[in-house]
């Protein structure tokens, strides 16, 4: 599958089309089916309100640390490259 073909699969793609793309991957590339399902589960988990509230509770402390020049980068964070 070409890169452009992969992109075209996400026809109409705002963020919501990611789910459609992952379902297509699940159905057409069996080796990636388990990984695609994990991504869908994480996606569903990430946008839940209680998760967002939990994240928000960390922010004041992290902003204070940044203001003091204390940089703690954390993990890889793949979404930073979007």
């Amino acid at each position: 599958m070409s890169i452009y073909g992969l992109l075209v699969l996400a026809a109409g793609a705002p963020a919501g089309a990611l789910v459609d793309l992952l379902n297509r991957i699940k159905n057409t590339v069996p080796d990636l089916a388990d990984d695609a399902q994990k991504v869908l589960d994480l996606l569903a988990q990430g946008v839940q309100l209680d998760n967002l509230v939990a994240v928000a509770s960390h922010l004041p402390g992290e902003i204070a640390n940044i203001a003091q020049g204390k940089i703690e980068p954390g993990g890889r964070k793949p979404a930073d490259m979007a």
Binding site: Y4, V8, A15, L18, L42, K70, P73, K77, A82
Partner: protein, 161 residues
């Protein structure tokens, strides 16, 4: 462009004065290719090539930026802003981010200069064999234009050490 230079300078000053953090753990750069959608088109409106950079300042907060060239409409666009990781930041192969960036472009009809709220994801599909390759997507809502723009693309991350 002036805003971009100011932000880059602030990032460099902040990262340069960072305590107890290896620069290669903080700053990441990648080359990328995107399909770009402008509002409700069925197929990508353009194919872009360019790069991204990010400085991870805390487990959930990063400063991000990008510069891309769109081939079909022959434009340059850039963006810079902040992103909050709303998934577990310790997850190395998947993440969702919410944030805001200031956007600009060589053609105002492609991308007017404005702030936009955005949602993004990143996924490393083959972490054991091709760990530098990721699939990313981003949708942004222009706060002045009210236009939704999206990209779906691939990134190849370059090591800094």
């Amino acid at each position: 462009m002036k805003r971009l230079c100011i932000v880059v300078g602030l990032i460099a000053a902040l990262v340069g004065s960072a305590q107890a953090a290896d620069l290669s753990d903080v700053v990441r750069v990648a080359a990328g290719v995107n399909g770009a959608w402008f509002e409700n088109s069925a197929f990508p409106a353009d194919v872009e090539i360019g790069g991204n950079a990010a400085a991870s300042l805390s487990p959930h907060i990063s400063v991000v930026g990008a510069v891309y060239y769109g081939f079909d409409h022959s434009y340059f666009r850039w963006s810079t802003g902040a992103r909050i990781t709303v998934t577990d930041p310790a997850l190395p192969n998947f993440g969702i981010g919410l944030g805001a960036q200031y956007h600009g472009a060589s053609q105002a009809d492609v991308r007017p200069n404005e702030w936009a709220a955005d949602a993004s994801f990143g996924w490393v599909p083959f972490p054991e064999t091709v760990s530098r390759l990721s699939v990313v997507g981003n949708s942004s809502y222009g706060l002045e234009s009210g236009v939704v723009r999206s990209i779906l693309g691939l990134r190849w991350q370059f090591p800094l050490k």
